[in-house]
């Protein structure tokens, strides 16, 4: 990697006479492998390589950017000059100058720690795993109409060099297993889905977890075949860890991203104010072990730290880039992330979770007179005013502390602040490891988690 660092530094040296205020270069090399198995057949298997350098230049108080798919000095120098010119173009169209908050300059090299590097595992073994997961699902019989088991892994190397003297190398591996199934009976179809993975080695596929996943997906798809839509309206609900992870991410997380805060969203100007029940503490963490959003340094070379967004119901901090931190007069937090070398970094979450409380999760359900137990998610969206919605995979009616019949097709919605203020029980269980890809103009791997909680939410259903 030191060769790459040298080339990138040479590009900076040989262009320093241009007179820019700041420049950084991000080299990235990614190798990926994937297989998809559907009902006993390996349908597609592929490998891909992508490498390139993204070059960002701040000149005349504005940003310009260009990327190159090579490590040739000449080509990179041309790209930097192009980015410099684009910064000047951009400067003419801008009133306010871009300022960057000061940060400590690092020279460091970081590896993600895994037991078994997936790149070293023979393809036959990965194929065998995917086929076995598929078999566990199809073994439920003809009721299973469609299965898709996707296994992915890959390695990445990122090198960051800046005109301030930063030199950071981050290397790691990722694995991911995604399972879809559709059950069908009497012309009715019912889909289900689950995934595991993150900055993890192949060891997580050595145990029972992949097969547990298969069981969950198959039984959910079959179990919900006869389920219908529940009666809609404002309801008391118990959320499982995964749904909570999503609500924390979608509903609250986005509104605490400093770029949105600057534009003006529901959390603008609310630092120090009560925005949730005092049982609620929300953290965005760069380095929970092996989490999907693992970010020891962000894509601006900032050493990432934990952000306590909400502490006991009080809004404490926003997530920042160097640029937003300068605008708000706050500290960078290491939340500037880019999809890959061909994008500029923007404020993103990493691994966002709610801290556990002191309720036994079973006790939460036992102490609920009427409501729903909601499990699993298909995805969701949030809004600047804190309104959010997400699709739930399973909904179980709760009556007098007991779980009754299941429902499906449920979408829940609400306002982040209202919903988090309604939280009246937080479980002592805690689970993180719900890998996802968040879209905000760019895609970013993220993770989340938390305990079981109880709150009030609008459940979309029959009238």
């Amino acid at each position: 990697m030191s060769e790459v660092v040298d080339v990138l530094n040479k590009v900076l040296e040989s262009t320093s006479s241009l007179g820019y205020e700041y420049a950084d270069l991000r080299y990235e090399y990614r190798e990926g492998f994937s297989i998809e198995v559907r009902k006993g057949v390996v349908e597609a298997s592929q490998v891909g390589i992508r490498r390139g350098v993204g070059i960002r230049v701040l000149a005349d108080g504005a940003w310009g950017f260009a990327s190159a798919e090579s490590l040739e000095l000449e080509e990179l120098r041309n790209a930097l000059e192009r980015a410099f010119k684009l910064a000047k173009t951009s400067a003419k169209a801008r009133e306010k100058r871009v300022e960057l908050a000061e940060v400590k300059v690092y020279r460091d090299r970081v590896f993600s720690r895994v037991k078994e590097n997936p790149v070293d595992v023979p393809i036959e073994e990965k194929v065998g795993l995917a086929l076995e997961v598929d078999r566990r699902i199809t073994s439920y019989g003809d009721v299973i109409k469609d299965v898709s088991v996707m296994y992915l892994d890959g390695s990445f190397r990122k090198v960051f060099v800046s005109s301030e003297g930063a030199e950071i190398v981050v290397e790691g591996v990722r694995t991911y297993l995604r399972v879809y199934a559709t059950a069908g009976e009497a012309g009715k179809l019912s889909p289900a889905y689950e995934a595991i993975g993150g900055v993890k080695g192949f060891e997580i596929y050595r145990g029972e977890e992949p097969f547990q996943l298969a069981k969950t997906v198959a039984e959910r798809a079959i179990g919900l075949l006869k389920a219908s839509l529940p009666k809609g309206g404002l309801s008391t609900v118990v959320l499982d860890n995964k749904l909570l992870a999503l609500i924390v991410h979608e509903a609250f997380g986005h509104c605490a991203e400093a770029d949105l805060v600057i534009s003006g969203d529901i959390l603008t100007g609310k630092i120090g104010q009560k925005v949730a029940s005092e049982l609620v503490t929300i953290v965005d963490d760069p380095e929970p072990p092996n989490a999907n959003g693992w970010t020891p340094y962000d894509d601006e070379g900032v050493r990432a730290r934990k952000v306590f967004i909400v502490e006991k119901g009080i809004l404490k901090e926003y997530m920042q880039s160097r640029e937003t931190a300068a605008v708000l007069g706050m500290e960078p937090t290491g939340n500037a992330r880019a999809q890959d070398y061909s994008f500029v970094p923007i404020v993103r979450m990493r691994n966002t979770y709610m801290m556990p409380g002191d309720w036994d999760p079973e006790e939460i359900i036992r102490e609920t007179r009427e409501g729903f137990y909601l499990k699993g998610a298909f995805g969701g969206q949030a809004d600047a005013n804190g309104d959010f919605m997400f699709s739930v995979q399973e909904a179980w009616r709760i009556e007098s502390g007991e779980i009754k019949e299941p429902y499906r097709g449920v979408t829940v919605s609400g306002n982040a602040i209202e919903v988090l203020k309604s939280v009246d029980a937080v479980g002592k269980d805690f689970k993180i490891g719900f890998p996802g890809t968040c879209g905000k103009g760019q895609m970013a791997p993220v993770d989340g988690g938390g305990p079981h909680i109880r709150c009030k939410i609008i459940v979309g259903g029959r009238r």
Binding site: A44, I49, A83, T89, S90, V127, G233, S263, G441
Partner: protein, 437 residues
């Protein structure tokens, strides 16, 4: 470009592939981004990609790279062949397509985009930003983007398919939010996409601002059962989800409820849907699809009757049908341009003839092609009462079933618009559940 493709075809066969598919694509252009009302960045974007699929008997292996020096290209071919050898058979594999004549397509390349200078791109997006402020000072552009690029592709296979195509496209969007005396509205967004530089950036800004204002002072309504009028964007979302169900891959895999329903009335008579891969100026228009089969025009739903499914060679062979130029890969299928025929009503008439309903411009939720479940939040939704658009509503959820919606469409507008890859009218659906607190 050509020599790399020729080399990959030849070398893969030497290494033991019985069939080979190669594609090479390249694109370049500019991107202008906006954050909080200001131009935040101007980027030059370029990318190139070689993709090789080697087939050994009935085993498929794919490899791709964006490093295009001789050594990396060679390695890419070797990895594809090695992977094919290491994997297991796909017993349904029936072979790559044979060469067929390609259609002539119109309006897919605009020199003005190909030669666009970054200064001009910045000016265009600034026009939108200015228009937002001229429309209302209460509106902030949270995020914005203009992206203009040209691309070229060569696709070839070992059976003699050789296709070359090029195209341009420009896309832009603004995400806006309105604020007034401490009240924050909900996100509004407006986008435009075109193959030529004919986007009205002023109109884009004005609509983005208007939509934000319409999302500001929302009023609650009681739950009711009534008419749901889908604005272009939501109608496009509905028809693009429906397209999943008439895609040959969903059909043979068993995840489509339209399986075994060819010839049946699945929608009201006013609905005719064409998958048109050669539509002049269409966003998905091209000479050939991802496997190298010619694009074509396919009548999928005629007066509500399901006529056919869309296919690539692989799914067509399984279903005993013909490929329709809808390969999104050798195994998967995707719609090209989804064209819904216009109806008899003007949008104004549709609203005027509505007793009670919602006019829905943004829907945040899902419409599943698998089980048909429609469930989500209504955004930028106006209450319509006694033929009049009254006020925007808050915290409404729309609940129902896509396949029931199709049978309850009571009006289709004459006016149509491009939204993403759909050319769609506004439609009205009856007896829909609107749920609130």
């Amino acid at each position: 470009m050509r020599s790399i493709v020729e080399y990959a075809l030849k070398y893969a066969q030497e290494r033991g592939a019985t069939e080979v598919h190669v594609s090479f694509s390249r694109s370049r252009g500019y991107k202008v981004e906006v954050v909080s009302d200001a131009i935040s960045n101007v980027s030059y974007i370029q990318s190139a990609r070689l993709s090789v699929i080697a087939i050994v008997g009935k085993k498929l292996g794919a490899a791709s790279t964006n490093s295009l020096d001789e050594r990396e290209v060679k390695k890419c071919v070797e990895r594809a062949v090695d992977l094919a050898k290491a994997t297991t058979e796909n017993p349904r594999w029936s072979g790559l397509p044979e060469p067929r004549e390609y259609p002539v397509v119109e309006g897919t390349y605009d020199k003005r985009i190909a030669e666009l200078e970054p200064e001009e791109a910045v000016e265009l997006l600034k026009t939108s930003l200015e228009e937002v402020k001229e429309t209302s000072r209460k509106v902030v552009v949270m995020q914005g983007l203009l992206s203009a690029s040209k691309g070229e592709v060569i696709l070839a296979n070992s059976r003699g398919v050789w296709g070359e195509d090029r195209g341009t496209s420009v896309s832009a969007y603004l995400v806006t939010v309105a604020k007034e005396s401490g009240v924050v509205g909900s996100f509004a967004s407006e986008d435009a996409v075109s193959r030529s530089l004919d986007v009205d950036f002023r109109e884009l800004g004005r609509r983005a601002a208007e939509k934000a204002l319409e999302s500001l002072h929302l009023k609650p309504v009681e739950s009711f059962k009534g008419s749901l009028i889908l604005d272009y964007e939501v109608a496009a979302f509905l028809f693009l989800n429906l397209a999943r169900a008439y895609s040959g891959d969903s059909v043979w895999r068993g995840s489509s409820p339209l399986r075994n329903r060819l010839g049946e009335q699945i929608a009201v008579e006013a609905i005719t849907v064409v998958d048109n891969g050669v539509l002049p100026r269409g966003i998905s228009t091209s000479k050939f699809d991802a496997e190298g089969s010619p694009r074509q025009k396919t009548l999928v739903i005629e007066k509500g009757v399901l006529k056919t499914f869309i296919n690539n060679s692989f799914t067509a062979n399984i279903l005993g049908m013909e490929p329709t130029g809808n390969a999104s890969s050798l195994l998967d299928v995707a719609p090209s341009n989804t064209v819904i025929e216009g109806g008899d009503y003007t949008i104004e008439e549709i609203i005027r003839e509505t007793k009670k309903g919602l006019f829905l411009s943004r829907f945040s939720g899902k419409m599943s092609s698998i089980d048909g479940i429609v469930s989500g939040s209504a955004k930028q939704a106006f209450l319509v009462e006694n033929g009049e658009k009254k006020y925007p509503v808050r915290e409404c959820m729309v609940v129902g079933n896509l396949y029931e919606f199709l049978k309850n469409i009571s009006a289709v507008s004459k006016e149509r618009k491009f939204k993403w890859t759909a050319l769609t009218p506004v439609i009205k659906i009856e007896n829909v559940n609107i749920v609130t607190k």
